[in-house]
């Protein structure tokens, strides 16, 4: 049985009497096993050796414990002699086999080996005296190759600096050799030591891949420490605990493997990672930063979509009253004929208008369905939650980015960093590589220029002057366009009062035309002006973004003004209709009463009931139309401006008088600033309109999804990399800051309308209430116990709220000042570090 055990350690049903022995032999046998499998070079020598060892072991196991040691030593001595012979053989073989190495190396190696031999012999004898232990046996069994390696290492150790790990290993091994023979007779302290050694090895294994050693050394070290760990891990446990220990080890290994797989799975789960990487390798990180931003937006919109879809649209569609049951859920009689026309549907009228997609469809019934789902409350809370969640996410991301980017902002190693870190190792495309070479050259030239200028300290005034001039020009532009917008909007309001029919086409569409003309030409103007400033392209991009952002704010402002005007118009219309309806109802009631007082009230088809204009649905429709037209223009400009241009340039180039590709039209570059701003403003529209049109997040998810693929394709197929491929700043906090501003600006009007304007009387979940947020009061009064509403009313008392706000302000101030002092301390420490170094 013992032979069996020592040869194939895989045998699992071990006999309990040989348990200890077996455990001790296991690692050795196993290694032998592995070795045999690995190098099936078929030298019977090895087999013989192992058999011998096996016999030795068999003998040992049969004899009583006391004699075991002596016996072992004898067997070992025999083996040692043989082993040494084998070593020499092996060495000569290896020497002759080394044909690939250069002469010099071989020579030095030879001498090393010779030295090593002598040394090792010396050592062997020493050790024999010390303790005839299993280690040597192991060494010999291992065969020549390993011995040679180890010897070489020994020599290295002597010759060069001793690497601490190796030397410590050796010591440990020598320390532990005695213990290994009788693990069960160890004192607790020694056991502790052993445990520590094992832990150290484990740490070594874990940290191994971070070591800058050649692979061979790593492999050797790994094998050695693994053997060590496996050998002694078994010895550490006792009796029944041993099995548990082995089980634990196995489980930790399995757990490690699971963790590895999970890591891999996680990286595989990031959507569009490969696409973005590919774009990054072709176009540099600035273009990729746009796509990363797009992906981030997509994630946010998915969550918003989940909220509105799961908590508002689906419950209403499933549990609310069906279509056609009440007037607000029915297409009115006058529109019925055209309600299914494509033109109407495309304009989000007809059946689209009277569906869960818009505010007006929802009923004001407090609880719907068998779940008693509080629809109006849910609607209100989702609206608030959308905004709150967006604020939270944007601010959290900004804070995290600020943390990351706040590390290395000093410029003390400008040239060194340019020299050693400017090459983007991800570039795998020759065109991009050429661009990168060019951009590195230009960046060096810029840096050199700056250096020379700072030495001369002459031209800096000119650039300063130019920058001030450029900013002045841009401000003039912005002010001019702002005034133009203001003027046009005022004029259009006057026209609207007069009635649009009396005016020409231009006068009717003046606002839109002016806006789009400004949006087209001002960015170009800014671009031209920014060449004056001579900024780094990254800084220039930020300036450009900020300027166009300021311009587009005018756009937003006109849109909101127009919307407010329309809301006011609708509300006046609503007043008249409300009055008419009461008249109509009264007449209906009178007629029924006068004819026959006992007859049941006349049932009127819901389509025939007169109804108010429902300004909320109108606002929602307006936003949806805006998003759709915006998306369409984006896609069409992409197809015409990029794709068609690329096709024309590519194919007309064969029969044209000048070189189209290098000359005037050329291929387009990817416009990072325009695309980022488009994305940001689009998101602002979503935040503004999502309360009145629950379908907006869904539409936006669709749009972002399509644009991801479309733009990825367009970039790869018809754009050329920018002339100066520049590295985007690691965090896109600038985008985030703009997003935050837009979020604030877009939630302001939404909140204003929710808080100040009373909801329509006959449509939407809040109909019949004075204000939309009354739904909270209602819920508090009817769904919560009385004491709760009392507590709430006390809590909302200004006497309590004001001190609370004061407290919060104080807390913010306190945190701010502490963070400031921390920052100062940071700077101080940095300075100290530099002086120390």
């Amino acid at each position: 049985h013992s032979i069996n055990v020592s040869f194939s350690t895989v045998e699992e049903n071990e006999d309990s009497t040989f348990h200890k022995e077996h455990e001790r032999e296991r690692p050795r046998g196993k290694r032998r096993n592995g070795e045999r499998e690995k190098k099936k070079r078929g030298n019977g020598r090895r087999k013989g050796a192992s058999k011998e060892a096996g016999e030795g072991e068999e003998e040992m196991q049969v004899r009583p414990e006391k004699r075991e040691r002596g016996k072992r030593r004898r067997a070992k001595n025999d083996q040692e002699a043989k082993g040494r012979e084998r070593d020499e053989e092996e060495q000569t073989k290896i020497k002759s086999a080394k044909t690939t190495k250069t002469r010099k190396k071989e020579k030095s190696r030879k001498t090393e080996e010779e030295e090593g031999e002598g040394e090792s012999e010396e050592r062997n004898t020493k050790r024999k005296k010390k303790h005839g232990s299993a280690k040597k046996e192991e060494k010999e069994e291992d065969g020549g190759k390993r011995t040679v390696k180890e010897k070489a290492q020994d020599v290295k150790k002597k010759k060069h600096k001793k690497t601490s790990e190796e030397s410590s290993e050796d010591n440990e091994e020598e320390d532990n050799e005695e213990k290994e023979v009788r693990p069960e007779s160890l004192s607790p302290e020694e056991l502790e030591k052993l445990k520590e050694a094992v832990d150290e090895r484990k740490k070594l294994i874990q940290g191994l891949r971070g070591k800058p050693w050649p692979m061979k050394k790593k492999l050797v070290t790994l094998r050695e420490s693994q053997e060590f760990v496996e050998k002694y891990e078994g010895a550490l446990g006792k009796g029944k605990g041993r099995k548990l220990y082995a089980y634990k080890v196995m489980m930790t290994k399995k757990w490690m493997k699971f963790q590895r797989d999970f890591e891999n799975f996680k990286t595989a789960c990031i959507p569009w990672e490969m696409k973005i990487k590919e774009i990054e390798s072709h176009f540099g990180s600035s273009v990729a930063s746009y796509f990363i931003f797009l992906r981030w937006m997509y994630g946010i919109n998915m969550i918003l979509f989940g909220l509105t879809f799961g908590l508002v649209m689906v419950p209403e569609a499933l549990m609310g009253r069906p279509y056609g049951s009440i007037p607000r859920k029915t297409v009115p009689r006058a529109e019925e004929a055209s309600a299914m026309d494509f033109a109407v549907l495309w304009d989000w009228g007809g059946y689209a208008q009277y569906s869960v997609l818009f505010y007006g469809y929802y009923n004001s019934q407090r609880a719907i369905g068998w779940l008693k789902f509080r629809m109006p409350l849910s609607y209100f809370l989702v609206g608030v939650g959308t905004v709150a969640y967006s604020y939270m996410v944007v601010i959290r991301t900004m804070a995290r980015n600020a943390n990351e980017s706040g590390v290395g902002d000093d410029n003390s190693f400008n040239f060194s960093w340019k020299m050693f870190t400017s090459w983007d190792y991800l570039i795998g495309n020759p065109e991009t590589a050429d661009n990168k070479f060019a951009s590195i050259t230009t960046s060096f030239k810029e840096a050199i220029l700056e250096e020379q200028e700072s030495r001369k300290d002459d031209n800096i005034h000119l650039t300063r002057f130019l920058r001030v001039l450029a900013n002045f020009l841009v401000l003039c532009c912005l002010a001019g366009s702002g005034y133009l917008i203001y003027f046009v909007v005022r004029r259009s309001q006057k026209f609207a009062l007069d009635g649009l029919e009396n005016h020409t086409w231009w006068e009717r569409n003046e606002v839109n035309m002016v806006m789009s003309l400004l949006g087209m030409f001002c960015p170009m103007l800014f671009d031209v002006i920014s060449t004056l400033e001579n900024y780094h392209p990254r800084v220039a991009l930020q300036w450009q973004l900020g300027r166009i952002f300021a311009l587009f704010l005018g756009n937003l402002y006109t849109f909101i003004i127009a919307l407010m005007d329309e809301i006011n118009l609708k509300r006046e219309e609503e007043k008249i209709i409300k009055f008419n309806i009461t008249m109509w109802e009264a007449s209906l009631y009178n007629s029924t009463v006068s004819e026959n007082s006992t007859a049941p009230p006349v049932t009127i088809h819901p389509a025939d009931v007169p109804r108010g204009p429902c300004w909320e649905t109108m606002v929602g429709q307006e936003f949806v139309r805006l998003i759709i037209s915006d998306t369409m223009t984006t896609y069409i400009t992409l197809l015409i401006g990029d794709f068609l241009r690329a096709v024309l340039v590519r194919f007309l180039n064969y029969c044209w008088c000048w070189d189209l590709e290098a000359g005037f039209p050329s291929y387009s570059e990817f416009d990072v600033s325009g695309n980022v701003l488009g994305l940001i403003f689009n998101q602002g529209m979503i935040w503004m309109g999502a309360f009145y049109a629950p379908c907006l997040p869904a539409l936006n998810v669709l749009r972002l999804h399509v644009s991801m693929y479309l733009q990825c394709w367009a970039v790869m197929c018809c754009n050329v990399p920018q002339e100066r491929v520049f590295k985007a700043s690691g965090s896109n906090n600038f985008y985030m800051a703009m997003l935050l501003v837009i979020l604030f600006l877009s939630t302001l009007p939404a909140i204003y309308t929710i808080v100040t304007i009373p909801p329509s009387f006959d449509c939407g979940p809040f109909s019949g209430k004075k204000r939309m947020f009354d739904v909270i009061h209602e819920t508090l009064e009817s769904d919560f116990p009385a004491w709760f509403s009392k507590v709430f009313s006390y809590a909302s008392n200004p006497g309590l709220v004001l001190p609370f706000i004061l407290l919060m302000v104080l807390a913010i101030y306190y945190l701010q000042s502490t963070s400031k002092s921390y920052k100062e301390a940071n700077v101080e420490l940095k300075k100290k570090l530099q002086t120390v170094k």
């Binding site: 250069t102 050649p214 795998g428 070479f437 050199i448 590295k727």
Partner: protein
């Protein structure tokens, strides 16, 4: 050898033995590198592709074969890199750019995203150290710069940049950069990520 155990595990019938072996023996290369078993297999595929007639598909016997620099440098991952020769050379054992499979895996492991910055800094220093004297001297910097810019800078400009670099990063004032200088400088770089 992971590859070996993998192949063995697939081919050998003694399933039980191998299940047990796999449980006990962790992947060696995984502990030495930042790759998974699958990735190493894929790397082996690439390695094999480079020279199908030289590299055996079967790594059971741990064959001793090396690929010359010229073959490895032509991989698309390295082809555009101005320091490709230096990268391969600094990972080869003999310093001439002949890579065995182990060294090949090691190279991509260090170049991969998962490798820590410290490790990358060590190898970056080796890469930039053209004359292998453990210091970055002026000649090294000039070579680096010329590779980076395809020799489009004038000699005066090169001179200026090298001077400035040494001036910035040299802490002990010996007019060349030791590894300590290099590490200090590179650890503060905002975008030393690779």
């Amino acid at each position: 050898m992971v590859v070996a155990t993998c192949i063995l595990a697939m081919s050998v019938v003694r399933q039980r033995l191998h299940d047990f072996m796999r449980m006990i023996q962790p992947d060696e290369k995984w502990d030495c590198t930042f790759f998974t078993r699958k990735e190493i297999l894929r790397l082996h595929g690439r390695y094999h592709e480079l020279a199908p007639h030289l590299v055996p598909m079967d790594y059971t016997n741990d064959p001793d074969c090396k690929l010359p620099l010229a073959l490895i440098v032509n991989m698309p991952e390295l082809k555009e890199n101005p320091f490709r020769n230096r990268i391969v050379e600094s990972f080869s054992e003999d310093g001439m750019g002949n890579l065995s499979f182990n060294e090949f895996v090691d190279m991509f492991s260090v170049l991969s995203e998962m490798a820590p910055r410290e490790l990358k800094a060590i190898y970056a220093f080796k890469i930039y150290d053209f004359n292998v004297d453990n210091y970055l001297c002026k000649e090294d910097l000039e070579k680096t710069l010329n590779k980076l810019t395809k020799e489009e800078l004038t000699p005066e400009e090169v001179e200026l940049v090298c001077e400035k670099t040494i001036e910035e990063a040299d802490l002990d004032g010996d007019n060349k950069l030791s590894y300590a200088d290099f590490e200090n400088m590179i650890s503060r770089a905002p975008d030393f990520l690779r």
